[in-house]
């Protein structure tokens, strides 16, 4: 039992566990202390000091986020001394900040702006420094823009990139007045090990790190009468979007989202979940083929474990960090890119539209998908497969711009041809989901029976632990798969690249050996993606995860191979999984990249 500590905050007594910070203790009393450098996902930095409070009898004001409580402590969070000092800190931050808020992408969603508004920082006491400094704006990446003039050097991004992603593309360079957030030799983000995951964007309190937005491009495409504009929506968008538009975290807004997209003027509203289902058939077949090659043919050129390839942040990470494992990656494109390649071939044919007149837009919880769509490999339809990728946040902006009252929208259904999906497709949005969806299908292909889990819910692969393992035993397979009789399929799941690193190191050192691993670059999987609503926290991600699994349970079909449109696609166009045509359109190659 941990010891309890008695203290008072603003005169109210309370008892909390040892090692609680003043900030956490105040939260228990619903007293909000403003913070900037503090973030629930990250270790304590204590560098901005905006969270100062007064401890009665102590001269120096402690930082609430970094100071643990002690017995008998009397804390004041709103004394005159606290207010003045807090106001001073905010003014100082603003004096070196390019605070032309009306020209900032984060206008209305910036923690510094909110504080300045709360504290009514109207008369600037300090000189305005940005004019005297030579700040850089890095716009080279197709995913992320970094504007140093809006940076308050809270270092959340640096901690995010190190602690959540284990990438450390960003660092704090120089010191004092010259201190800045930078990369190796101040290269553009596009030229270093950055994976474009956007977690730093998700954790930046200001407009210093933002996604590169393609909102105007999409509006232009919609306005062009010659163009047939198709939109696809990733699984995690439907359980995140609501947060930007007046709903609580964990709200499922699928039908309203579809309705909003139709009102925005898209010609067809289709679903990435459809190609998620397709991915399962392609990747499941690939897995079984590899197992056969390794176990039966003893082929030395086939590699296990097979690693999933849906997360473009993970792909770029492995290209930089573990290029020797590129043969382990599934050759399957991500669902977004499969969709793109099919829209300008199969869909165009079915709808009798010239693919040159199709604009394909995707709504993603992800910033790395912007980079992925831009990869030179992604032109297998003969055109750029996906023209514009916008995030959940950008979609919310468009909905607001269009004057759509989201909360009042009716629920509508996806359009036909690549609009059908199953519960297996939707769980792609949560860590472990691809694994679960693949097992639901692969197990049935091999044994002819459903996976032996209640309601098809393979709970061992679910959850928020950084690395999870599961073993699936195969019994009484169909004759074709008799070599798998009694086999135990060892699977592992990692989310957040820092955990992917652990997983890869355990494979590399020979400590672990698996048949199949799923990796998602972002914490919680796509539901915690770098393009999802801000803020994010473990609690918010938990709620989004529950929403994903609820969405799965409510789907009439729960297994990818039951998706009728996928069945039709194979019958009428692709022939069978991993066919030559499927290979051409749905599979890809990877490139080794410089580690540093």
């Amino acid at each position: 039992m941990s010891e309890k500590i008695n203290l008072t905050i603003n005169g109210i007594p309370l008892r909390v566990d040892q090692n609680t910070t003043i900030l956490e203790a105040a939260e228990e009393l619903s007293i909000k202390i403003p913070t900037l450098c503090h973030h629930k996902d990250l270790c304590v930095a204590g560098n901005c000091r905006v969270c100062v409070v007064e401890e009665v009898g102590v001269k120096k004001l402690p930082a609430a986020c970094a100071t643990p409580v002690h017995e008998g402590m009397e804390i004041l969070t709103n004394s005159l001394k606290v207010r003045n000092s807090r106001k001073n800190i905010i003014e100082l931050l603003l004096s070196e900040h390019n605070a032309d808020c009306t020209k900032c992408y984060k206008n209305g969603n910036c923690e510094l702006q909110t504080l300045a508004a709360e504290y009514k920082i109207i008369n600037q006491e300090f000189i305005h420094l940005p004019d005297t400094k030579c700040y850089t704006i890095d716009e080279f990446s197709p995913s992320i823009i970094k504007d140093d003039s809006r940076c308050i050097r809270c270092q959340r991004c640096v901690r995010t990139c190190a602690e959540i992603q284990g990438v450390s593309a960003l660092t704090v360079g120089y010191k004092g007045d010259h201190m800045k957030i930078t990369t190796f030799f101040e290269k553009p983000i596009a030229d270093v090990v950055c994976t474009n995951c956007g977690q730093c964007v998700n954790h930046c309190p200001t407009g210093a790190l933002i996604e590169k937005n393609y909102i105007e491009e999409v509006w232009e495409a919609i306005a062009d009468p010659k163009m047939h504009v198709v939109v696809q929506t990733a699984p995690a968008v439907r359980i995140g979007l609501g947060e930007e538009l007046g709903f609580e975290p964990g709200s499922r807004v699928t039908g309203k989202m579809v309705s909003a997209l139709k009102r925005l003027g898209f010609d067809a509203v289709l679903d990435t979940d459809f190609t998620a289902d397709l991915t399962i058939l392609e990747e499941g077949t690939e897995l079984l083929t590899r197992l056969k090659k390794v176990l039966v043919d003893k082929d030395p050129d086939t590699h296990l474990p097979l690693a999933t390839s849906c997360s473009p942040g993970w792909i770029k990470y492995i290209e930089h960090m573990y290029p020797e494992y590129l043969q382990n990656l599934s050759t399957c494109k991500s669902p977004q890119q499969m969709f793109g390649a099919l829209v300008k071939t199969y869909y165009a044919k079915e709808r009798n539209i010239d693919p040159a007149n199709i604009v394909s837009v995707s709504i993603m919880p992800c910033t790395a998908k912007k980079f992925e769509a831009n990869r030179p490999e992604m032109h297998d339809s003969g055109y750029r497969d996906v023209d514009f990728v916008i995030t959940t946040r950008e979609l919310a902006i468009m909905i607001k711009q269009a004057g759509i009252e989201f909360t009042h929208l009716p629920e509508e259904h996806y359009d036909k041809i690549m609009g059908d999906s199953t519960g297996a497709g939707v769980i792609f949005g949560a860590t472990g989901g691809v694994m679960e969806a693949a097992l639901r299908t692969a197990y049935e292909i091999v044994t002819g029976r459903e996976v032996p889990f209640e309601n098809l819910n393979i709970t061992p692969v679910r959850g928020m632990d950084g690395v999870r393992e599961a073993t699936i035993k195969i019994e009484n397979p169909l004759p074709d798969w008799s070599f798998l009789d009694g086999a135990e399929l060892n699977c592992a799941i990692a989310h957040g690249l820092v955990n992917a690193k652990d997983l890869m190191d355990s494979i590399k050192s020979g400590k672990k050996s698996y048949h199949f691993v799923e990796v998602m670059a972002c914490p919680g999987g796509c539901l915690g993606g770098g393009g999802q609503p801000i803020p994010t926290s473990p609690e918010i991600r938990q709620k989004r995860m529950e929403a994903i699994y609820a969405e799965d349970m409510d789907m009439p079909l729960r297994k990818s191979h039951d998706n009728p449109e996928v069945v039709h696609l194979y019958e009428s166009f692709l022939e069978k999984p991993n066919s030559e045509k499927a290979h051409h359109l749905l599979h890809t190659k990877y490139v080794p990249r410089q580690r540093f």
Binding site: A162, V167, S168, A169, L170, T171, V172, G173, Y174, K175, T182, T183, F184, F185, K187, V192, V193, R595, F596
Partner: protein
């Protein structure tokens, strides 16, 4: 940033130093210190190698290198000029001497002239306070230097080696 290929010898020096510190990331500062002592400076390629050996990130290494003004990323000049900024030298006008060097060579602290001849750095007390202010060019020590002497000192090295 042009890529230089590190010489085999340099690679080995760096690797040895990292190994001496058990390739431990926590020893980064010591490693950088030792490597700079051997190589004179820390170019990008050396930082990359150190990051690799210590299994750290290059950005982190770069962050540390830029944080401490002691570390330099440009090679020292053929004739490195060091000006003592210890208390004794300082009160006896080291700063004016430094300014004069900077002015004459059109050079900032930590930088090297384009022809690679001169670089300027500051030192803390070199233990010759009796001679303050003290300037060193390479190994050679100049005592009681006044700003007026600066031109003469530079001239000594201007055309190749000093006439010693």
């Amino acid at each position: 940033m042009p890529k230089i290929k590190l010489a085999e010898k340099t690679i080995n020096i760096v690797k040895e130093i990292c190994a001496k510190y058990d390739n431990n990331e926590g020893e980064l500062i010591n490693v950088l210190h030792n490597v700079q002592a051997k190589l004179g400076y820390l170019p990008a390629e050396v930082q990359e190698l150190i990051a690799k050996e210590l299994n750290s990130s290059v950005a982190k290494v770069y962050g540390v290198v830029t944080f401490y003004s002691f570390f330099t990323m440009t090679p020292m000049g053929e004739f490195p000029i060091s000006i003592c900024m210890g208390t004794a030298c300082y009160v006896r006008g080291a700063e004016q001497v430094l300014d004069e060097f900077k002015r004459q060579l059109k050079l900032e602290i930590g930088k090297t002239t384009e022809d690679g001849k001169f670089s300027i750095s500051c030192l803390r007390c070199v233990g010759a306070c009796g001679l303050a202010p003290v300037v060193m060019v390479g190994e050679k020590v100049y005592g009681r230097v006044s700003p007026q002497q600066v031109r003469k000192i530079i001239a000594e090295y201007q055309d190749g080696c000093p006439s010693s």
